[in-house]
Amino acid sequence: MDIFLQQLINGLVLGSVYALVALGYTMVYGILELINFAHGEITMMGAMVSLAVIGALALAAPGLPGVLILGAGLAVAIPVCMALGLLIERVAYRPLRHAPRLAPLITAIGVSIILQNIAMLIWGKQYIPFPAILPQGRHEILGASISDTQIAILVLAVLIMLTLILVVQKTRLGRAMRATAQSRQVASLMGVDVNRVIASTFVIGSALAAVAGVMVSAYYGLAHYYMGFLLGLKAFSAAVLGGIGNLGGAMLGGLLLGLIESFGAGYIGDLTGGFLGSHYQDVFAFFVLIAVLVFRPSGLLGARVVERA
């Protein structure tokens, strides 16, 4: 039971990070039907920028409480990532909005490679350690262990997701986003500034990515210019699993993927009597993805057209 509970915690923490990143993919897809492959790299940029700030602050003012330093890191990383998202949309996607769908996909991959290399030039090829500024508290619940960092990630992820749902459902901007997702032409005829809505989508998605980037680097204790690639791929899979274009789907998909990976890696060896080991973790996760897509091609919550935002 304690092992089961521990795997549940592992999966939920991992899954909530996936979900935050997956939201960025799904929002852009919902509105533009574009897979923004550079999104994983924005997560990486968020981690790197915040680490640069945190590292500098931890050196300059060692007495400062860790949470304050972390907050400062976030306060810099979020606007930087927002600006980056805005810039990418303006330079790489807007000029291609009426081009065949393959063209923006290719620029997306191009942007992702450019961002990786920029990060490599600025921060080098080294793994960058996350300074030990956070309290390393650990709590035992029914034999399972959960750390302060894990609790913070879970709480923060849930709060952010609730806020996002509120924004999309209750605000003017949210209504404009939903309208644009349904039909760009009609929305613009109704007086919605479509370019502004699309830009806002990128900005919001990038802010979420920045937070996720900081979470990942704080959780694993390191950041690296290459970290966005695998994270982006997993989050994208999570978005597809939940039904790409659907906000709730991205959250569900992210959590599910985290849980599947966690339980898959933890139990697959014992369940198959050692025949399949934990190196089948990813195979197992993607097998579930394929199985879901075979029976529900638009993902778990992938409603058609309506309700995407």
Binding site: V13, G266, S278
Partner: protein
Amino acid sequence: MTGHTLGWVVVAAALVAGCGDKPQQNGDNQVVLIGQVSPLTGPQAHLGKDNENGARLALDEINAAGLTLGGKKVVLELKSEDDAADPKTATTVAQKLVDEGVIGVIGHLNSGATIPASKIYSDNAIPQISPSATAVAYTASGFKTAYRVMTNDAQQGSVLGNYAVTKLGAKKIAIIDDRTAYGQGLADEVEKAAKAAGGEVVAREYTSDRSTDFMAILTSIKGKAPDLVFFGGMDPQAAPMIKQMKQLGMQAKFLGGDGAQTPKLIELAGADAEGALASNPGLPLDAMPGGSAFKAKFEAKYGKIQNYSPYAYDAMHVMIDAMKRADSSDPAKYLAELPKTDYQGVTGRIRFDARGDITGGAVTLYQVKDGKWQTLETVQSGK
């Protein structure tokens, strides 16, 4: 049409063949190209750059001292390539180096990259000395051109497995590897040696060389209550693994191989690294015959030593030493001299056995104490 195309193909082929095939002349000096391959991008770029710097330091020294072969003054030039620790890229860059006309190669860093590349060097009769590839399979292929100056995994793994059971008193052992030729090879040897010494392997788990999340497999391992967790892999994985073991409240000791015994591991794992154990083939830097001198020279130019640069440095010297004895930079001639190598390098006395492995490789065990790797003891691997 066909005739035309064929004509161009012939011209192009002639041009390609003309390029770099012959040693280039630079005034009276003959320029000789030596290849260096390691991952210069990707997760292990810090280790790759370290190797490149080690090889470059040796090469610069030899050039500065002046090298004369066959009555001609020779200037060495380093052609450094990036294999990204990827077996496929490794063969591409190996072929590129061969096409550019290198007469020897120092590399590659990873066993997984070194093994497929060794076939290309062997086919083209280009001698290769790896400073850090430790997988048994590298020299077991029987290629005459394949050498290494590093203790291999069979030697290191048997020392580690035996040490875990007899010296560290671990009865139940969990083993994780990163599914690379290096990680898996080392883990297999540890498993064999640990069982032979009377230990019980309670879990065998796997991850990849790109992962940072090990919570799931560690949780599963925790359920089997091992005394010790052995990880076959590199520091970017070992550091978060150690942190996550602490996070899960695991009491088991952590033991790693040479991929984990780096300054970067302590930097990345911070206070959690305290007590972690790892081995490194060969002697510790300060116990190496030329260690302190090398450290001073290297750090003045390139900063902190990561891990294998003394070996890359020695590998370069061993190769040039063979050329000096053959009085030629012709691969066919100096390759015949390599088996007779008896070179006193920074890392110790270097001699090769019939397969190209270093003889009597030492393995040193280290433990993190007060935020530093402290030497526990050096164990001579059995013959």
